[in-house]
C-alpha cells in the first residue's frame, strides 16, 4: 500500500467518514445491470437457498428453495433462475457490428453486453459453483434436468471465469467496486461485508459513517453465507415444510413454503436496496477514460462466447483446463493486469500521485523548450528532431537515465530522461527530457506536437506493449513437461463432454 492510499484510510478513521480512494470510476457500469443476491445453505458444498434477482430495483424476483437438500427443488430453482437470466444474457446479441480482424475472419460484436452485479467476491464464487454444479447435468435419462439448467451452468462458468480477468466488467462484486473507490476507517476484512462498507460511504442522516457501519454489523449478511442466528429461525420452518410433504398435506406445505419465502425475503431485501444504492453512488463519479476500451474487450469476449455456444458441437467447459488452454489463459490475464494498471494510472490523478510519491512519475511545468534541436542517432544517416524540454517539479523521480517516458496529457508523446538537477528555485528539481516520438515522420516536428513553455505535464515510465503472447502449440502437441498430449482414451480430452460424478451419489439427504 502507498502512503497516499494509507492517508485516505487514516483520515477516514479520524473523521468517521469515507475518503476518496479514486477520482474516477474504473469499471464500466451498464445502464441496465442485473443485480443478483444469492443465499446458499450453510454446511453444504452448493445448495441454493434463495436469490433476489432482476434489473428493476422496485421489482426483484424472489426465488426460494424450501428444502435445499431436495435435488429436484435444487435444480428447479436453477431452472427458475435461468428463466430470469437467460433472456437477459442473450438479448444483447440482437444488435451487433461487424468487426474486421487481422489474420482472422471478421466477426459480429454486440454493441452492448449484459452485466451482473453480486454483493461480494463470495458471490462470484457462488456463480462459479452454480456453473460447476449444473453444466454437466444430463437433460435425458434417469436424472434429467430442464435443458436450461446446463445452459445457465455454462453461462455462469463463463461469467465467473471472465470475472477473473483484471478489469473485466461482465460480472462485478459490489464490495470490490466500492472499496476501490472509497477508503474507509476499517480493515479490508470488515470492508468485505457490504452493509458495513456502505455505512462508511453513505451514512444515515445525523450519524457518522463509522457509527452507521458499526450499527450495520448486526444486519443480515449480504451472502451467500447466511447468519447462523437466522438459520436457527429457518430450521423449524424447513422442518415444518418437510413434515407437510411427508404427511402429503399440500395446504400445510404451501403455508410452510410461504413462511420460508417471507423469512428469506425479509433477510435479503436490505442487501437488495444496498446494491442499488451502491450503483447509484458509483454512477455519480466520472468514468475513467480507458473504461470504454476495456468494455469493448468484454463485448468481444461475450460475443465470441455466445457464438461458440451456438455451434452444434459446442461442449461444456472442462472441469480443469488443459495445459495449453491454462497457459493461454494465464498470459491473457497477465496482459490484462498490466494493461489495467497502466490505464488506471493514466486515468486517475490520485493513483498517479502514488506513482509520483514512489518516484515512478513526475508532474510539473515546462520551463524551457529547445524545439528545433536535431540529433543524428548512431547508425542513422539522417538527423531527426529531438527537442529538449526542461520540466520543473517538486516530485522526486527515481529513474535511471534514458528511461523511456510517456505523458498523461499528451498520450502520443514519447521521451527519455536525460538529466535531473536541482533547480534555481529551492526545493524543486529540473528534469531534462529528450522528446523521441509523437512528432510525426517529417524532418521537423508536426505542428503542436512539441509542448510549450508553461504547460503542466505528467510523465511516467512507459507501459509495456500489449502485443499478442507467444505462439502456442496445439493441445495434441502439449509437451511432456506439461503432461503431454491429452489421452484420447482417457475420456477427458480438452473441451470434451464429460459425465459428472455418479449421480446416484449426489442425493444423500433427501
Amino acid at each position: 500500500m502507498s502512503a497516499v492510499a494509507a492517508l485516505g484510510r487514516l483520515r477516514a478513521a479520524a473523521t468517521g467518514y469515507a475518503q476518496p480512494a479514486a477520482t474516477v470510476r474504473h469499471r464500466h457500469l451498464s445502464d441496465r445491470p442485473v443485480v443478483f443476491v444469492p443465499y446458499a445453505m450453510s454446511g453444504e458444498a452448493f445448495a441454493p437457498l434463495a436469490a433476489l434477482v432482476g434489473d428493476d430495483p422496485a421489482a426483484p424476483h424472489l426465488l426460494i428453495v424450501p428444502q435445499p437438500r431436495d435435488r429436484d427443488r435444487r435444480f428447479g430453482h436453477v431452472a427458475d433462475l435461468a428463466a430470469v437470466l437467460l433472456p437477459y444474457l442473450t438479448e444483447w446479441l440482437a444488435k451487433t457490428e461487424t468487426i474486421e480482424r487481422k489474420n482472422d475472419d471478421p466477426y459480429e460484436r454486440a454493441v452492448d453486453a449484459p452485466q451482473i452485479v453480486v454483493p461480494s467476491p463470495a458471490g462470484i464464487e457462488y456463480v462459479r459453483l452454480l456453473g460447476r454444479s449444473t453444466r454437466f447435468r444430463r437433460t435425458d435419462g434417469e436424472y434429467a434436468v430442464d435443458p436450461d439448467v446446463p445452459l445457465l451452468g455454462r453461462w455462469c462458468t463463463y461469467l465467473a471465469e471472465r470475472a477473473r480477468t483484471p478489469g473485466s466488467s461482465l460480472l462485478l462484486a459490489m464490495t470490490d467496486l466500492l472499496a476501490r473507490t472509497w477508503a474507509t476507517g476499517q480493515s479490508d476484512l470488515e470492508n468485505g461485508e457490504l452493509a458495513a462498507l456502505l455505512g462508511w460511504i453513505d451514512p444515515d442522516p445525523g450519524r457518522t459513517g463509522a457509527e452507521t457501519a458499526r450499527e450495520a454489523e448486526g444486519a443480515a449478511p449480504a451472502g451467500p453465507a447466511t447468519d447462523p442466528k437466522f438459520d436457527e429461525r429457518l430450521a423449524p420452518m424447513i422442518a415444518a415444510y418437510d413434515h407437510a410433504q411427508r404427511a402429503d398435506d399440500p395446504r400445510a406445505g404451501a403455508r410452510a413454503e410461504e413462511r420460508i419465502r417471507d423469512a428469506l425475503g425479509g433477510e435479503l431485501m436490505p442487501t437488495w436496496h444496498r446494491m442499488w444504492r451502491g450503483l447509484e453512488l458509483l454512477r455519480e463519479l466520472p468514468v475513467g477514460a480507458s473504461v470504454a476500451g476495456r468494455w469493448e474487450i468484454d463485448r468481444m469476449s461475450y460475443s465470441l462466447f455466445s457464438a461458440d455456444l451456438a455451434k452444434p458441437d459446442s461442449r461444456p467447459q472442462p472441469r480443469t483446463p488443459g495445459a495449453v488452454a491454462a497457459a493461454q489463459q494465464l498470459v491473457r490475464r497477465e496482459t490484462a493486469q498490466a494493461r489495467l494498471e497502466a490505464e488506471q494510472l493514466r486515468d486517475d490523478p490520485l493513483l498517479m500521485a502514488e506513482a509520483r510519491l514512489a518516484g515512478q512519475a513526475f508532474r510539473g511545468d515546462i520551463v524551457a523548450v529547445e524545439a528545433d534541436r536535431m540529433v543524428t542517432e548512431p547508425g542513422k544517416k539522417q538527423a531527426r528532431p529531438r527537442p529538449l524540454l526542461v520540466l520543473r517539479t517538486s516530485d522526486e523521480p527515481l529513474m535511471t537515465l534514458d528511461t523511456e517516458l510517456e505523458c498523461v496529457e499528451r498520450p502520443k508523446a514519447k521521451a527519455k530522461l536525460v538529466a535531473v538537477a536541482e533547480s534555481a528555485q529551492g526545493g524543486t528539481l529540473d528534469v531534462r527530457l529528450e522528446l523521441t516520438g509523437g512528432m510525426g515522420r517529417g524532418k521537423t516536428p508536426e505542428e503542436g506536437s512539441v509542448p510549450e513553455t508553461g504547460e503542466l505535464l505528467t510523465w511516467t515510465t512507459a507501459a509495456p506493449g500489449f502485443r499478442g503472447g507467444p505462439k502456442w502449440p496445439e493441445p495434441e502437441e502439449t509437451p511432456w513437461t506439461h503432461g503431454g498430449p491429452p489421452d484420447p482414451d482417457g475420456g477427458r480430452p480438452e473441451g470434451a463432454a464429460e459425465d459428472d460424478d455418479d449421480p446416484g451419489a449426489e442425493e444423500p439427504w433427501s
Partner: protein, 421 residues
C-alpha cells in the same frame, strides 16, 4: 501474590471456566503477542460470557444446518467400525487393503455422541472459526453430567489404549482410536484436546485423521478452510507426539502426514488426502515454547485484579465499567484477524479505536489491518500519523524519514483532490 493457580482463580472469580482446545491453541499461534488473550486462556475464562458483560456480545454462532451436515458426515465415515474410513486409509496412505481391513475400534469418548444430549459435541462443519459455538468446549462442570467420564479419567483411558496399541503394533492390523483425549501443556497449564478426528495405527505408525465436511471440488478445497484444518491437526499431532514420548515410544511413531477426510465434489461421498503439516507443527511448537510463561504475564498485573468484580467487591453488580477497567488493565494486541478468532475481539476493537495518544481521534493503526502498519514505519497512533502528515507536530528521533514521506503524500493528496473538486 499467591500461587499461580490461586491468582488465576481470583482473576476468574465466579465466571464460568473454559479450557483450551485445538482451535484456541491454534489461535494462540495466530496472535502470540496478546497478553490479554494469554491470561484469559490460562485462567480458563469463558470469554463469551465476559464479552457479553463488557457490552460486546459475540455475534457469531454455528448454523444448525452445518451442525447437522457435520454430524451426518462424520457418523457416515465412522459407521460400522470405520468401514469407510479403512477404505479411505488404504487409498490415502497407499497401503495394501489387508493392512487396514482388520483391527480394533476403540471408542474413548466415554459416551457416544448424541446430538440431543450434547449439541455440537463432535461437530466441525467446515473450518470457519466460530468461537461462539465451540464444539470442543468441555462442560463447565463435569459433575453436572455424572455419566460422563472426567477429563483425567479419559486421558488415562487414552494413555492405556495408546500404550496397548503401540505395544501390539503389527503391520497387518489397523487400530482406530476414536475420541482420544490428549493433554497438552500450554503456557504452563494443562489443556485437553479432543480431536474430532481419530488416531489410526497403520503399518506401525500413528496417523491423525481429521474429518471435515467441507468439499474437495475437482481436487481443490477452500484454502482458508484447508489452512485452518492443517493448523488444528498440527496441534493434535503435537499432543500425540508428546504423549507417545511420555509412554516411552519415539516421537516419530506419530506421522506428520495427517489424513484429511472431506466430502468429494457436490456429493457426500468421502474422499481422503494426505496433508503434510510439518510446517504448521514447527510453528505451533515454536510459538508454544515462546509463549511467555503465564507467571511472567501475571507478574505485570495489578495485585487483586479480577475480571469478576461483582464477586471481589461483594456489593452486587459492579457494572460493566468496572469489568472494562479490569480487562483494560491487561494489554491487548488487537488486529482485524482477531474478529474471526477471539470472542473479545469486538471489545478490543472498540478499545483500540477509541485509543487516543493526545493527537486527536482515530485510534490505533492496527485496527485498519496489518498491511498499513508497514507503510507507517512503526507509528501506531492514527492521530499522530495525521499530525505528522499535516506538519502539526515534530517527528521524534528516527521518525524523520517517515514523517517526510507522509508530508509529501498529504501534499499530493491535497493537490489532486482539490483539482478534482
Amino acid at each position: 501474590m499467591g500461587t499461580t493457580d490461586s491468582r488465576l482463580g481470583q482473576l476468574r472469580g465466579s465466571l464460568p471456566a473454559r479450557n483450551h482446545n485445538a482451535r484456541t491453541v491454534a489461535a494462540l499461534a495466530a496472535n502470540p503477542g496478546c497478553a490479554r488473550r494469554g491470561v484469559m486462556d490460562a485462567a480458563g475464562i469463558d470469554k463469551t460470557a465476559l464479552a457479553t458483560r463488557l457490552g460486546h456480545p459475540v455475534q457469531y454462532g454455528q448454523s444448525p444446518f452445518a451442525i447437522v451436515r457435520g454430524h451426518a458426515f462424520e457418523a457416515q465415515v465412522k459407521a460400522d467400525g470405520g468401514a469407510q474410513l479403512r477404505a479411505l486409509l488404504h487409498e490415502a496412505l497407499g497401503v495394501p487393503e489387508s493392512a487396514v481391513a482388520e483391527g480394533a475400534y476403540e471408542e474413548l469418548g466415554g459416551e457416544i455422541p448424541e446430538p440431543e444430549t450434547e449439541p455440537g459435541a463432535e461437530t466441525e462443519p467446515g473450518a470457519e472459526a466460530e468461537p461462539g459455538a465451540d464444539p470442543e468446549t468441555e462442560p463447565t462442570a463435569a459433575a453436572r453430567e455424572p455419566k460422563r467420564l472426567g477429563r483425567e479419567q479419559r486421558v488415562t483411558l487414552t494413555r492405556r489404549a495408546l500404550h496397548r496399541v503401540l505395544d501390539e503394533a503389527r503391520s497387518d492390523t489397523c487400530a482406530i482410536l476414536d475420541h482420544p483425549l490428549l493433554p497438552l501443556d500450554v503456557a504452563g497449564t494443562r489443556a485437553y484436546l479432543e480431536p474430532d478426528a481419530m488416531a489410526c495405527l497403520v503399518a506401525g505408525r500413528l496417523h491423525v485423521v481429521e474429518i471435515k465436511s467441507f468439499s474437495v471440488l475437482d481436487g481443490g478445497a477452500d484454502p482458508g478452510k484447508l489452512a485452518s484444518a492443517a493448523r488444528q491437526a498440527a496441534v493434535y499431532v503435537l499432543a500425540l507426539q508428546d504423549l507417545a514420548a511420555d509412554l516411552g515410544f519415539g516421537r516419530d511413531v506419530v506421522s506428520t502426514d495427517v489424513v484429511l477426510v472431506c466430502a468429494r465434489d457436490f456429493s457426500n461421498q468421502p474422499t481422503a488426502a494426505l496433508l503434510d503439516i510439518r510446517k504448521e507443527l514447527a510453528v505451533t511448537r515454536r510459538r508454544l515454547t515462546r509463549l511467555a510463561r503465564i507467571d511472567d504475564l501475571l507478574a505485570d498485573l495489578p495485585a487483586g485484579l479480577t475480571f469478576d468484580p461483582v464477586d471481589a467487591e461483594d456489593q452486587g453488580d459492579a457494572g460493566p465499567a468496572a469489568v472494562r477497567q479490569a480487562v483494560g488493565s491487561v494489554p491487548a494486541a488487537y488486529v482485524p484477524d482477531c474478529l474471526s478468532a477471539c470472542e473479545l475481539a469486538y471489545f478490543c476493537r472498540s478499545e483500540a479505536r477509541a485509543c487516543e495518544g493526545g493527537h486527536g481521534s482515530g485510534g490505533l493503526v492496527g485496527t485498519l489491518g496489518t498491511g498499513i502498519r508497514g507503510v507507517l514505519g512503526g507509528i501506531d497512533d492514527i492521530g499522530r500519523a495525521l499530525d505528522l502528515a499535516d506538519g502539526a507536530c515534530a517527528p521524534a528521533h528516527g521518525e524523520e524519514e517517515i514523517a517526510r514521506v507522509l508530508r509529501r503524500a498529504a501534499a499530493l493528496r491535497r493537490e489532486v483532490l482539490e483539482a478534482a473538486r
